[in-house]
Structures are given as C-alpha cells and as structure tokens.
C-alpha cells in the first residue's frame, strides 16, 4: 500500500493550529479543517492568559 504524505487536522483551536504548524515543519502537507468561519477557537476569545497575563491573541 502506498502511503500519503498529507494529514488532516480537524479543529483549528490552539491544539489543531500547533499540530498543523509542526506537521508542516516536519515536511507534510496539512489540511486544517475548522467548523467555524475562523481558526483560533476558544483561545481567541480570551483576554489574557494565566499566570503571566500575556495577551491571548
């Protein structure tokens, strides 16, 4: 069987985006599939993050 060098990542929140970036860096083609109109997920709605109060966006 011939394998395909592409991966589908379902979900464009912080996890999905990080996975997609790492896979691309590792030399694979990535389809990032997101159910909403924008990637970012819940993290994009956060103002700051614990504990350093860094900006979430």
């Amino acid at each position: 069987m011939k394998k395909t060098g592409a991966i589908m990542v379902l979900g464009g929140g912080v996890s999905g985006v990080q996975t997609a970036l790492d896979l691309a860096d590792l030399g694979y083609y990535v389809y990032l599939v997101e159910k909403k109109a924008y990637i970012g997920g819940f993290m994009a709605q956060l103002d700051k993050t614990f504990p350093t109060n860094d900006c979430a966006i």
């Binding site: 069987m1 011939k2 394998k3 395909t4 060098g5 592409a6 991966i7 589908m8 990542v9 379902l10 979900g11 464009g12 929140g13 912080v14 996890s15 999905g16 985006v17 990080q18 996975t19 790492d22 896979l23 691309a24 860096d25 590792l26 030399g27 694979y28 083609y29 389809y31 990032l32 599939v33 997101e34 159910k35 909403k36 109109a37 924008y38 990637i39 970012g40 997920g41 819940f42 993290m43 994009a44 709605q45 956060l46 103002d47 700051k48 993050t49 614990f50 504990p51 350093t52 109060n53 860094d54 900006c55 966006i57």
Partner: protein, 940 residues
C-alpha cells in the same frame, strides 16, 4: 485551511485514508476581501455577536475580530436576507472589492490523507446547568467567558467591567468554581482542570482595571497544580487581596437588585452575603459534536463523550492512524494542549515517515532589492492603536504626526491593529509604493511581534534587519496608564529614538547551516525511551544515554497506572522496543560529560567506564527525570509502619494477602510539597493516593483508609477515582499547613493526631501503616544544566523557553525537554510530552538545515588586539582566537553566537560590534533621547 467545514466520514486505512468533508460557503471571496468593513456597515440585519458571547451585536456579514484568520469577512447565512429570501443584496452593491459572491455553493471535498488528527476542543456546559446558579434569570450572573469579554479592551465594553443589568460598576464580585464540573448531576463528573487558574486570572485582571473591587472566590479545592501555578496564585492572592473561601458551590438568589449567596463551609457553618455580580467559572464539556465526530471517524468515546485513550498511549484513538490532541482528549489548559499538539504531530510523522516531503510545499522569498539601500534612508513609521490598548492612553494621532517631523521620515501612519492580516498587507504595499528602506513600528513588544513584522518585510524583498520597534504599549500605555499626557510624550521620545536608530540600520545576512541527522536523548526512563523511539521511528538515528545500568527510571517502581494498567508491562514493552530498534543505540552506565557546538552541529562527550567517546549530533533531548522526595518528617525511616506511596505499591503487589493484620491506613498528602520542603505542588500525589486507596479497598474492603489532604487535586478524569474512593468509604480530612498532622509512635503500633474541622477538635486515628504521599524532587540537574547552558527554575527543574508557545524547548536552540526533568507530572503526561519533544527535535533533522539568527557579533580584525577577554567571557563558546600570521585575532562562530553582546561590551579596543546594535546605532538612539531635553533647555 478549510473553514465552515465538518467531517462526514473517514474511509480507508492508516497511511491511506479518504476524509470526506462538507464545507458551507462564506459568500465572501477570501482572496478579494480587503476586510474594509463596508458590508457590515450597510447590512440591515443585526445578529448576536457570538465572538463577544452575545454581549454585543454585529451584522450578518462580519469578521469576528481584527486579527481573525482567514483575514476575510463572511456572511452569517442564517440571518442574511439575500441567502434566505433573495432580497436585499446591499452588501454586494456596496463592496468595492466585489468580494461578495452569492453564487457560492456548499462543497463536498474528498481529502486523501495518510493520517488524521482530531483536535475539536471542548464544548459548553448546558444553560440548564448554569440556570441552577441563577444564570438567565438574574442578569448580573455571567459566565467566565462573558466576563473575559467584559475585561477585554476589544470587547463590548472596551474593557470596562459593567453589570449587564444597569451598566453600573460592581463593587463586590463573587467567582463560583466548579459550575458544570465535578458534578455528576449534570453529567460532568470530572474536574475541568483549568477553571481555578482562569478565575484567579480574571479576578486579577479585574482588580487591575478597578483596584477598589472586592473579589471573593469560592473553591471546593484550589487546584493550581501546574508548573509555577501555585506560586502565581499565591502572588495574585497577596497582590490583589483576593478572598479565597473553601465551600461547596453557593446558592444564588436575587435580592433588591443584588445577588445573595448562601454557602456552607467545612466546619458545618452556614454564611450569607450580598454581591453585585457573580461570575460562574464554567467547566469544559465534551464537544457538542463529539458523537458525530466519533461516528464519522470510527473512534470510541469515553463515558463523558471525550475521546477514549489510555494512559500509556494518550494520543492514540481506538482506530489506528487517527490521533487526538487537546481538550477532546480530556479537559486541559493551553500549555498541555500545545504539548499534546506537538506530540500528536510526532505520531503522524512516525506513521508517514517514508512519505516525508512528497506533498510538502516550500515557501520562497523574493530576492532582496539591494538598490533600495543605495538611496538615502527613507523611513516609514506606523503607530499602532492596538484597539484601545494603546490608544486608550496614548494620543496615537499626535505621536503619528510627531513622527512626520523627524528627519528621514517619508511616511507616517496610524493603524488599528498592525498585527492583523489586512494591516500587514497594507503595510507591505506602502513599503513598496514609497520605496521605504527603513521601517519603524510603534506598537507592542518586539519579543512577541518582531518576527511577524520582519516576515512581512522579507515577503516583499526587504531585509528584515531594516526594521525597528518602539514598544509604546508596555512602556507607555501600560506603565503610565494614569498619566496619558506623559505617556504620549514618552511615546514620542521612543519613536524619535527608534527613527534615529533606524536611519543607521544595515542589512544582515541570514546564514543557514547543515544539520547532522542524529539525536542524543539523555535519560532512559519512560520519557527518554518514548522520545528516542519516536525520533528513530521518524527515521533518524538516536543515541539513548542512561547513567545507571538499567533502563526504566521511576517507571520501574510504579506498579499500576491511574487507569489501572500494569506498569510493569508498559515498562517491558518500552524496553523491548528500545533494545530491538535498529535506529536506537542504547548506552547504559554512561555519563554525559559535556557538549559543544550549536544546533545542528553539536559534539557531546560521553563517558563509560573511564573511557570518553565523542558523538556528533544535531539535537539533544533532556529527559533526565526526577526522584521521589526523601521525607525527613512524620517518623519516616524510624518505623517500618511509615512508608511512601511507592513503597505501599510495592507491598501491595507482593504475596497473596499483602494486607494481613492491617486494619487502618492513614495517608498524608503534600509531604515535601507546597511549602513543606519544596515550594511547589507535585501534581500527581493526590491521584496516586486515591488510586492506592482504591487498591486497598479492592484487596480488603474493611481496612479503614484516611487521606489527610490540603486540597484534593485529582484533576481531569482522576476526579472519578476521588468520587469512587469516597463512595467506598475512604475518609478525607482537610488539614492546613499551620496545623499539620502528627504521627505518634507507641510501643504497639502508631497513631495519627489530626484536627477535624467538622468536630472542631483534634482526633487520634490508630494506623497500622502511615503512607506518606511524597512529592517529586528534581534530579541533580545543576551539572547537566551547566554543561548545556540551559537555565533551571527556582525549584531546580529545567526551564522551558516559553510556557505556552514553546513548552518542550529550552532557551538553547536544538535542545528539547520532557518528563520529570521539566516538572512533576503523571506517566500519561510524560509520554505526551516526550512525543512532543521528539516532534520538535525531529524538525531540524527533517529540514536538514537551520537558519542562524542574524544578530551576531562581528570582529573588526584590524582593531582586534588579541587579548582574549571575549573568548573567556563568552557563555556560549561562540568566539575563539585564531592565528593570523603572527598575531592572534578573535573570530565569531556565527552559528553558536546568541547575540548577547557580552563580548562587544568588554572589548577594550571596541573591535566587536553587534548586528542590529552597533555602537553608532545605539549612540544615535541615546542622542535622540537627550535631544528634546537639550532643545527645551536651549529655549528656556
């Protein structure tokens, strides 16, 4: 990137799947949309702004937020008149870019993929559950996510905290923890693992906005078990005067427009108080579409509808070739989600190693336009509003106009969010149009945003070194938030200084170096073995270095995992695979003695039996582990009846009746941890204690088991074990650090004296065994840290480069981190992290080349006197003396140089300069700083 899309089915087999995906139209062409906002302005259909948690309204065509990606608007099809009734069409008529396209139809895509990663995140808790706490009935009861939008500068109130009922400022706010978590009645019996932290954060942010606020937080247990989290929580508590109350979730009523809370503390007393606003710290549910995803992908879910996984393979679903990461695997915070996300990339990469590069696309940059630099400096200044983050304090337009008066400035503009995609696009266009050869952006911190802007320059053929940032957010708007005029003046100063420096900036080369395709992994425990196997499975030779003469580390002493798996079998599987893998070379009884070189080209010296071997390698993974804390208190070592949890496991796993003559067992939590001897929480002892308590009950149900704890931190699905232990009759008694339990040895047996909060008096419990839940102490990390020049935390663990963005990397490029060397964690978490470190370590190996940072030192050999001070001082071994003729001259090893500038600042002959920070550039900045003062003096 495929948005508005849902998964329909996955067919085929690992390595060769077809994923069927259904995509709904955006009705706006992403390539044409310029994100100008005209469509939103003209649309007559208001819709709830879901991005702002329905606290605001927007129109059917909109963008969620300025930085949203894709940077294109979309039309909410449910609300659109044109889509539903074929009327209106106003947006299409007003869109000058002609981006509105109602001819778009839903599409069904077939994606050929080798592997699938599921990362759908988490879902919301039902409003019915929130209604139990007055949500929906009382307007001033809000969810934590709504509160998040209220405190956000880009939110509906521009960061002002106002009560939804009357838009007044609240004086007293209560945070209610565990809403929709740790509650079987709502179906979520688990702990959501993040709410304790975000509540402390939201309370802190609220106090920064409104220092007079009075904030109370109601916890059942304070679960800030993450790395450095306890310390951060304590700091916040002290700094902001947050009031912490331990109680079951209070009851909420409304009285005269205020909210009356009633709660019972663990001494059995009932309390009531009035608040102006209540924030529900809502937990993380399984995704609403979990069942649909499971059906489409053919995977199984657990009893909470999260993805079913095991502790020895936390990122694998029940179907081969389909993996999982993030909150769908179990509720978790951002650092852990990011870690799992990298980890899952390793899994897919292991499966598809042979196809690497067959489908990838390489990004190319246009050649640099060198003719730009032949001209005089043409500086462009962009001043960022950052929404109201900067513009709320600093007069951005005044700063912009001031920039226009500075020498060399040919373009000066202000932008709402310079980091948003459309702003970057417009900045790039303006650089080209105006032939700018120096760019200054006055915005936030170069630490986070410099690379983004430099990438923009690179994309249009401008050398990224021709760029300077002025941090007018942190250094003006934030620190001088109470003095807007002074902040504006300071912003002008910073811009003037940045422009003065920018005029002298020179382009810097972007060298790359080849990578030796080999990895060294330090430490042969569960994490080290997992990382080594993953790198080898991804196709790269790996050397696994273990100091002792056996593989296994702490896993050798563990008997059962938290999900009841045989730890011995996991250990055997790992060691068998490591020993038989042709890509892994195992070096036992071997000490790591030193490392030189730089990412891609390290040389390490490994010593075995007095003999030293040099190994060249491209990357290093540190998995040197930790060790159980050796208790000094509670009579440990003086009586055989006082043992640790691991010793208990060992006793329980021996013989047929390990609990003969045992009638009562008392477990004491936080031995060594949380300010006892070590300042931090060891994270896994609570789960380990309930796991072993259940094991005891399984062997011999009539043994009385007591667990004396400070906060039960059985986060995530371990909460199930905690609840089961309570059901099986395990008795939990909370103690405080000022009233620790006492172990009293008697001639026959032993007893434990402890303060019972419900009775309000001390009680004595006879104990056949006392089991100490000892914390996890760091290994002897100082020596390793010194050899690889990696920093440690105050607690003695390795420090990651960034807790959220780079959780498995250390500050030294090419060095990665996992397992207990990073901090206390469970086997499940260690394995995820080891996979993540393996993925990150494999990236440079797979690329074959690494880019070297352009900011390096440069020696002017005609000035160098060969004194050698720089060579002695360089902390990175990045400068050396070479003979040139009869003279000695210093020379920078560009690839090792970190650009710290120590050499340049100590050179007695001023022969060393730093790229991007030359003496003349810095002097120009300093002169510019004093310039205004001089002028003012002259005028007076």
């Amino acid at each position: 990137m495929i948005t508005n899309a849902s998964l329909q089915a996955i067919e085929g087999q690992p390595g060769s799947f077809v994923a069927r995906v259904h995509q709904e139209p955006r009705y706006i062409d992403e390539d044409k949309c310029t994100a100008c906002g005209t469509c939103t302005m003209y649309c007559p259909r208001p819709v709830a702004d879901f991005y702002n948690e329905r606290l605001d309204v927007t129109r059917a065509p909109h963008i969620d937020y300025a930085q949203a990606i894709p940077a294109s608007y979309y039309i909410d099809a449910k609300a659109c008149l044109r889509v539903n009734y074929e009327t209106c069409n106003l947006c299409a008529q007003t869109c000058t870019a002609q981006a509105i396209d109602f001819s778009q139809k839903p599409r069904d895509l077939e994606l050929e993929v080798g592997a699938v990663v599921l990362a759908p995140g988490f879902g919301r808790v039902d409003n019915e559950v929130l209604a139990r706490f007055g949500y929906g009935r009382y307007p001033d009861v809000v969810t934590s996510l709504e509160f998040e939008r209220l405190t956000c500068a880009s939110g509906p109130t521009e960061g002002h905290i106002l009560r939804p009922s009357d838009q007044t400022r609240p004086r007293r706010i209560a945070f209610l923890q565990c809403v929709g978590s740790r509650d079987e009645t709502c179906g979520n019996g688990f702990c959501s693992s993040v709410c304790c932290m975000y509540a402390v954060k939201e309370a802190s942010v609220a106090k920064e906005h409104e220092p007079d606020l009075d904030i109370s937080l109601f916890f059942m247990d304070v679960r800030t078990q993450g790395k450095g989290f306890d310390a951060a929580r304590k700091r916040a508590q002290e700094k902001y005067g947050l009031r912490i109350i331990r109680a079951r979730v209070p009851n909420v009523d409304q009285v005269d427009g205020r909210l009356l809370l009633t709660w019972v503390t663990d001494d059995g007393k009932s309390h009531t108080e009035l608040f102006d606003m209540v924030v529900l710290s809502v937990g993380l549910s399984a995704p609403e579409d979990a069942r649909a995803i499971a059906e489409a992908s053919g995977i199984e879910l657990n009893h909470y509808n999260f993805c079913k996984t095991t502790h020895d393979a936390p990122l694998a679903t029940t179907r081969d070739g389909i993996y999982v990461a993030g909150a769908f695997q179990g509720p978790k915070d951002i650092p852990e989600s990011v870690t799992q996300a990298s980890g899952v990339a390793a899994l897919a990469s292991e499966l598809l190693a042979e196809t690497r590069g067959t489908r990838s696309v390489t990004v190319t940059y246009p050649e640099e336009d060198t003719s730009l630099l032949e001209e005089e400096p043409r500086v462009g200044v962009f001043v960022c509003h950052c929404g109201v983050n900067i513009a709320g304090v600093v007069d951005v337009k005044a700063v912009r106009d001031y920039a226009g008066t500075l020498p060399g400035v040919v373009l000066y503009e202000d932008t709402l969010y310079s980091c948003s995609q459309d702003a970057l696009k417009s900045i790039a266009e303006k650089i080209k149009e105006n032939r700018l050869n120096r760019v200054v952006i006055a915005a936030c911190s170069p630490r986070t945003h410099e690379p983004l802007f430099q990438e923009t320059l690179r994309s249009i053929g401008v050398n990224p070194a021709l760029f300077e940032m002025a941090n007018i957010r942190d250094q003006c708007a934030w620190v001088h938030s109470q003095e807007p005029e002074a902040a504006t003046e300071k912003a002008k100063d910073l811009v003037r200084m940045a422009v003065a420096k920018a005029r002298l900036l020179e382009p810097l080369a972007q060298p790359t170096v080849d990578v030796i395709p080999k990895a060294i992994v330090l430490g042969g425990g569960a994490s080290g073995m997992t990382a080594a196997l993953s790198i080898a499975d991804q196709g790269y030779q790996t050397v696994l270095v273990e100091r002792s003469d056996r593989l296994g580390g702490n896993l050798r002493d563990l008997k059962w995992t938290l999900d009841g798996r045989d730890a011995g079998k996991i250990l055997k599987d790992l060691t068998d695979r490591v020993n038989s893998h042709t890509g892994v070379e195992v070096l036992l009884g071997t000490e790591f003695k030193g490392m030189s070189g730089y990412v891609g080209n390290f040389t390490s010296s490994l010593e075995k039996g007095g003999q030293t071997e040099l190994v060249n390698h491209g990357v290093l993974v540190v998995a040197t582990g930790g060790r159980p804390y050796l208790p000094k208190s509670y009579g440990y070592g003086k009586s055989k009846r006082v043992i640790t949890q691991l010793e208990l496991e060992s006793r329980l796993s021996k013989g047929k009746n390990p609990l003969r003559n045992v009638r009562s067992i008392v477990m004491i939590q936080c031995v060594g941890s949380r300010g006892d001897d070590m300042s931090y929480c060891s994270r896994l002892c609570c789960s380990q204690a309930v796991k072993n308590a259940l094991k005891i009950k399984e062997f011999k149900p009539d043994v009385r088991v007591y667990i004396l704890y400070r906060d039960m931190r059985t986060y995530g699905f371990s909460e199930d074990l905690y609840r089961e232990a309570r059901k099986k009759g395990v008795i939990f008694l909370r103690y405080t650090p000022d009233r620790k339990p006492e172990v009293i040895r008697q001639t026959r047996g032993i007893k434990v004296r402890v303060y019972d909060r419900l009775i309000g008096d001390e009680i004595e419990v006879p104990a056949s065994w006392v089991v100490l839940s000892v914390g996890i102490a760091p290994a002897e990390n100082e020596e390793t840290a010194r050899l690889i020049k990696a920093p440690l935390t105050q607690d003695g663990f390795f420090l990651e480069a960034h807790a959220k963005l780079r959780p498995v990397e250390v500050a030294v490029d090419g060095v990665y981190l996992c397992g207990l060397a990073h901090g206390p964690k469970s086997l499940e978490e260690s394995i995820s992290q080891a996979k993540a470190a393996a993925a990150k370590a494999t990236i440079p190996l797979a690329k074959g080349k690494v880019a070297v940072a352009p900011i390096v030192s440069r020696v002017d050999k005609s000035l160098c006197i060969g004194c050698g001070i720089c060579e002695n001082l360089c902390p990175f071994n990045a400068i050396r003396l070479v003979k040139e003729g009869k003279r000695r001259k210093a020379e920078t090893i560009t690839a090792s140089c970190k650009g710290c500038g120590i050499c340049a600042s100590h050179c007695p002959a001023l022969a060393i300069s730093m790229g991007g920070f030359t003496d003349s550039e810095i002097m120009a900045q300093i002169h510019a700083f004093s310039q205004r003062e001089c002028e003012e003096r002259r005028e007076s």
